[in-house]
Amino acid sequence: MDLITQEKWDRAARSFDLMSANGPEKRWRPAKLSVFSRMRPDARILFLALGTGLDIETFPKGCNIAAIDISPKMIEAARERVAGYEGTLRAEVMDVHDMSFADNSFDQVFTSCTFCSVPRPVEGLKALYRVLKPGGELHMFEHTGSKIFPFNVMMTQMSRLASRFGPELDRDTVANVRAAGFEVTEVNHVFLDTVKTIHAVKPA
């Protein structure tokens, strides 16, 4: 377990809902709904990372979901939202780099604002690749760096500050998904080129 990352997010858990539950969550709700509507009731689903459970309201009912997060404080804060889900939702403290799930055990993996936060993104994505069945799907809602001037410069500079308390703002997550071995099938920009949904498959 990466204790430095765990501590960072345990600290962030205290103010996470204050910062994210209103404006950011409402702004992103339509895009999150469109990604999570792809959850299938017949699939075994891995969700990363649970945070305080803000995403749960946008999950379709009746799915079978294992949700993980590295931060026990985040999982604790999510408890009520987890209990309110109408389906099967198990929340566990787990580092994506060190998951206890067997190889090829999930049909679908979903991520939400996670790969700005996971410290070693390509390795984290490779770990998701390992637990996904061949032909399995990866669906992501992520914010990333920009390729457009002056936003790229702004994001790189701000990332230096933001990464001390929370996420990195300048990652190329689409390239990371490819580098982990996935075949990217769809990329949709939600806001400029900095908020996007990414869909990929593990080749069969």
């Binding site: 404006g23 914010h143 457009i148 936003f151 702004m154 990217v184 769809e186 806001f191 400029l192």
Partner: protein, 123 residues
């Protein structure tokens, strides 16, 4: 493109406020005292710092992170540059602040309309 009234009005207000405050601070602190180029460069940093504090501290929790940070930082940067170059009166600060905030927001909305949606994949 954002069509929800709460967010559209919020974006307009947030961008006007950030640009006006950035312009006021950099014009008061620097206001043409340093010469054109240094005033512009230092003003740019002052403007960005103010935009960062206002957008992350107050506005983002109400209106969204990226959607506030990106236009406000750009507007703050431009307003800070203008304030660093010129000593402006209060009326000019209000007029130019509003114009800079609105102008950047319109630019971001246009860019957003062009950039959002499904992307061509270069496999």
């Amino acid at each position: 493109m954002e069509k929800r009234l709460y967010f559209v009005l919020g974006d307009v207000l947030a961008n006007i406020i950030v640009a006006t405050v950035a312009l006021a601070v950099s014009s008061t602190l620097l206001g043409g005292n340093l010469g054109m180029l240094p005033g512009m460069l230092i003003g740019m940093f002052v403007g960005m710092l103010i935009a960062l504090i206002l957008s992350m501290g107050v506005l983002a929790p109400l209106l969204g992170i990226m959607e506030i940070m990106m236009p406000c930082m750009l507007g703050g940067m431009i307003a800070g540059m203008l304030g660093g170059m010129w000593d402006l009166s209060a009326a000019q600060i209000l007029q130019w602040g509003a114009a800079t905030g609105l102008g950047t927001l319109v630019l971001i909305y246009i860019m957003n309309a062009l950039l959002t949606g499904p992307q061509q994949l270069n496999r």
